[in-house]
C-alpha cells in the first residue's frame, strides 16, 4: 500500500500509519488513533481532523465493497506547516467529477465527502483506488 506517492522527497516531521479493520467500529478506531496529533493541532482543528477521518472511513466501510475485517489504511504526516492525512481502502473505488457537491437537504446521505471538502484546507481524490487525502494547516485559525 503506497500511501506516500504524493509525499515530498525530503520527509520531515512525524509520520504514522495504521490499518483499521472494516467494521462499524472502524470510524471510531480511526478517530482514537488520531490522538497522537494533539501535539500538532489545536483542539478545534484536531476535532475537525477526527470528523473528516471518521467520514472517510465510514465511506470506505459503507461503499468500498470491503469484507468485514478488510484493511482500511490511514496515514498521517505532521510537519511544521501542516498535517496531511490519507485514507485508502483499495476497494471498488468511486466516481466523482470535480469537487463534491452538497446534497439537497431532502436527500439523506452523501454529506460526508462534502463536509471533508468544506473543512480541509486542501483535498485530493483518487476514485480509482478509493484514496482520499486532505491537509490542515497548523497555523490557520479554527474553522
Amino acid at each position: 500500500m503506497d500511501l506516500d506517492r504524493d509525499a515530498d522527497d525530503a520527509e520531515t516531521g512525524e509520520t504514522r500509519r495504521t490499518r483499521v479493520p472494516s467494521s462499524p467500529l472502524a470510524p471510531r478506531q480511526a478517530r482514537r488513533w488520531l490522538g497522537w496529533l494533539e501535539g500538532y493541532l489545536p483542539p478545534d482543528r484536531l476535532d475537525s481532523a477526527r470528523l473528516m477521518v471518521s467520514e472517510l472511513v465510514s465511506n470506505s466501510v459503507m461503499h468500498a465493497g470491503l469484507a468485514e475485517g478488510d484493511a482500511i489504511h490511514v496515514m498521517a504526516r505532521a510537519d511544521d506547516a501542516r498535517v496531511r492525512i490519507i485514507v485508502c481502502d483499495c476497494g471498488r473505488g468511486f466516481e466523482l467529477e470535480g469537487r463534491p457537491t452538497r446534497p439537497p437537504p431532502h436527500v439523506h446521505g452523501g454529506l460526508g465527502l462534502w463536509m471533508v471538502d468544506q473543512l480541509a484546507d486542501s483535498m485530493k481524490l483518487d476514485g480509482a483506488t478509493g484514496r482520499v487525502s486532505f491537509e490542515l494547516d497548523r497555523g490557520t485559525a479554527a474553522r
Partner: protein, 139 residues
C-alpha cells in the same frame, strides 16, 4: 520516520448511551457519547421508541454527545422529519459538537433548538428556525 502506530483493538461500547423517558408531558430521548456508525442503530432504536411512546412533543437531548458524524445527523434528521410529519413538535438540545456539524451541513433551519437541559431550572428558551446564537446552557 516514526515507527508505525499499533493497530487499535475493539473499542468498548461504553462510548454511547441512549435513554428514553417521559418528563413534563414530553418524551425525552437522551443520547450521550459518540454518535457514529457504531452507535447509529442504537440511536435509531431510541428515536423510534420515542415516536411510539406517545403522540406528544419530543425533546431530543444531545447535550452530552461528544461526537456526531453524518450517520448520526442522518438519523437525527429523519427522526425529526418523521415526528413533524405526524404533527408533533420536536426540539433539540445540541452540544457544541452537534451544533457544529449541523451548521457545517447547512441544516440549522431544519431543527428547533432548545436552550437549557431537561429538568434544569432554566427558562423555556426554545429557538426555532430563525434562532440566534445559543445560550451558555446549550452544549
Amino acid at each position: 520516520m516514526a515507527a508505525p502506530a499499533r493497530d487499535h483493538g475493539v473499542v468498548p461500547d461504553e462510548s454511547f448511551d441512549a435513554q428514553v423517558r417521559e418528563h413534563d408531558g414530553r418524551v425525552v430521548v437522551t443520547l450521550r457519547g459518540e454518535l457514529d456508525m457504531a452507535s447509529e442503530a442504537d440511536a435509531r432504536r431510541a428515536l423510534d421508541e420515542a415516536e411510539r411512546r406517545s403522540g406528544g412533543p419530543v425533546l431530543i437531548d444531545l447535550g452530552e454527545v461528544t461526537f456526531m458524524g453524518s450517520n448520526g445527523l442522518r438519523a437525527l434528521l429523519e427522526s425529526v422529519e418523521s415526528l413533524e410529519a405526524q404533527g408533533r413538535a420536536a426540539e433539540l438540545i445540541a452540544s457544541k459538537s452537534v451544533e457544529q456539524v449541523i451548521s457545517l451541513a447547512g441544516l440549522e433551519h431544519r431543527f428547533t433548538f432548545r436552550v437549557g437541559r431537561v429538568g434544569a431550572d432554566s427558562p423555556d428558551g426554545s429557538r426555532g428556525p430563525d434562532r440566534g446564537v445559543p445560550g451558555p446552557e446549550a452544549g
